[in-house]
Symmetry: C2
Subunit: 334 residues, 2 copies
């Protein structure tokens, strides 16, 4: 069995629906011969059981370990994917969830700094990923290009919606990308989209695809997560798992990742923020370009950035992170 690497990959939250799927996906893709399942081990979602299921699936060539001890999990880790946040529970306010998951991200960042400062790349997917990714990066001491967040689901949702609308294979829809934040404030860019080679904006506004229908589609894409919950009776778990494993595969030197990733941006225009850009993930980590769309799309991206800034500033107000002026004391790379 040829693995992409023999370096250690840690899946955080490996006992959960997303995490256990990541483990399976990483093994199926032959990413690494050394995979460690880390979770907090509540008996009902134990990664020990997931590891055992993997062995019973016939993954006979990989070293599959499971632990609840962060020292064991992170020591020697070169790649990390974390879905290890807490879900929103009854009676929790939005701030409770935000504070809770950002505290978890702080702990993860500190564990990285303590146990695996030589880690090559970290992918964060627990909500709200724009912020948990930022907090992880801050406390990990890593370089901006070493921590990315899952942002691709909005783009694949747009790609899928356009493929269905025009009755073409999804591979025939190219350039369907969303940027900025994840969620209702995302910036959907249509100007680079081609449908079977034909620019989307040559079609929008014609009887084939009236402007109102395109506007509705963009709105639906921002509600894509809720749509899956309605269709499946549970949050999506296979798609976030697969896309994040594809992200880590690309930084391992595998197939290039085809969709935008969330990355740390601080370029004078957008500062001290984690947001989806036009990214490249490879062995050097993440590099980005600011996407250029129509004036309207660019304005939408600016608005998405402003929204993210407000949420980031809320973290400061809630005392979860210090003011930006002090960030470089915690992480000299920022």
């Amino acid at each position: 069995m040829a693995f992409l690497t023999d370096e250690k990959l840690v899946i955080v939250g490996a006992g959960g629906m997303i995490g256990s799927n990541m483990v399976q996906s990483a093994l199926m893709m032959n990413l690494t011969s050394n995979i460690c399942l880390y979770d907090v081990f509540p008996p009902e979602v134990g990664p020990v059981g997931v590891a055992e299921e993997m062995r019973q699936s016939g993954f006979v060539d990989a070293c599959i370990t499971a632990t609840a001890d962060p020292a064991v999990a992170f020591t020697g880790a070169k790649y990390i994917i974390s879905s290890g946040g807490a879900p929103r529970k009854e009676g929790m306010t939005r701030e409770d969830l935000l504070a809770g998951n950002c505290k978890i991200a702080e702990g993860l960042g500190k564990d990285i700094q303590k146990y695996c400062p030589d880690v090559k790349h970290v992918v964060i997917i627990f909500n709200p990923a724009d912020l948990t990714g930022l907090v992880t990066l801050l406390y990990s001491g890593l370089k901006p290009g070493q921590v990315t967040t899952l942002a691709a689901l909005d783009s694949t949702r747009l790609q899928s919606a356009l493929a269905k609308k025009f009755g073409v294979m999804q591979s025939k829809v190219t350039g369907a990308h969303t940027f900025g934040g994840h969620g209702e404030q995302m910036a959907v860019f249509g100007s680079a989209v081609k449908i079977d080679g034909k620019p989307l904006y040559d079609i929008v506004g014609t009887p084939e695809f009236p402007t109102e229908e395109w506007e509705q589609m963009k709105k639906d894409v921002t509600q894509g997560g809720a749509a899956i919950i309605k269709l499946r009776g549970r949050s999506s778990f296979q798609s976030p798992s697969l896309l994040s494993v594809q992200m880590i595969a690309s930084v391992m030197g595998g197939e290039p990742f085809r969709y935008p990733a969330g990355t740390y941006v601080s370029n004078g225009k957008y500062d001290h923020i984690m947001m989806a850009m036009d990214t490249t993930l490879d062995k050097n980590g993440c590099t980005y370009r600011v996407p250029q769309g129509t004036p309207e799309e660019n304005a939408k991206l600016d608005a998405s950035y402003e929204h993210l800034c407000k949420m980031r500033d809320e973290l400061v107000t809630l005392n979860i992170v210090p003011p930006i002026s002090e960030w470089s004391k915690i992480n000299p790379n920022l």
Copy 2:
């Protein structure tokens, strides 16, 4: 993207935990460009949502359809994997479950005969698979080598247990196979097992591996499903999914399947029964050899066969299948 085939694969029960994992696994393994998700569509486990999640995972080259209509699902199908049984519910007796799932298997067999008599291979994994597979075969009109059942989990459990015991990579444990029925009556064969090249029976009975410990391990393997429920708080779903997709991959001409499959046996010694044999799965379907172990192991296999016969005869008594003498009227291949 190079697919193993462009022929239609139908996943039955595609909305469930096992079925949705099968869909993902088949797509990840690039088995086919044409996959149909079939289920009964209760809103909480809809295959439409699973199909959408797959599109959102970036499987852009495959045609992924979802339907609740058996005519749409099975017409043109060349390969089928079914996890579409009903789970045991509170207050159900063992007979209720048996009767219910065998009725589902009868319906599946009849759908196959009606809509896709040219199907190449069918893998059945819903419980009790030895019997649901037999009933499916009977009513489908297919040849014995065209319907197999998932039996490999017992073998991978044994392989995993031995690897852990001896501290070797699982790939270093060869020949760890169980035969006959699935469950407590299975026949665990140790005589072909090698641990890193060394015959297991050279080690059993030594201080390194006392006979009692080996006996206990064999017992534990038969309880492997319950162990996963304890460790995960839910039935295994990733391992049955992956192994059954590996089975269908092998009959599509992909990698050879490495573990025993359940197959129809009628050779004078074992008659009119579905049980795990020493099997080969390839483009010609399933062929088998009766495994030869120690006299004790062979006796255990005979006992497992007797147990399966009792269960099969119960199906006759319950009027789920006619007496064996009438089977050839329903399926001339039996």
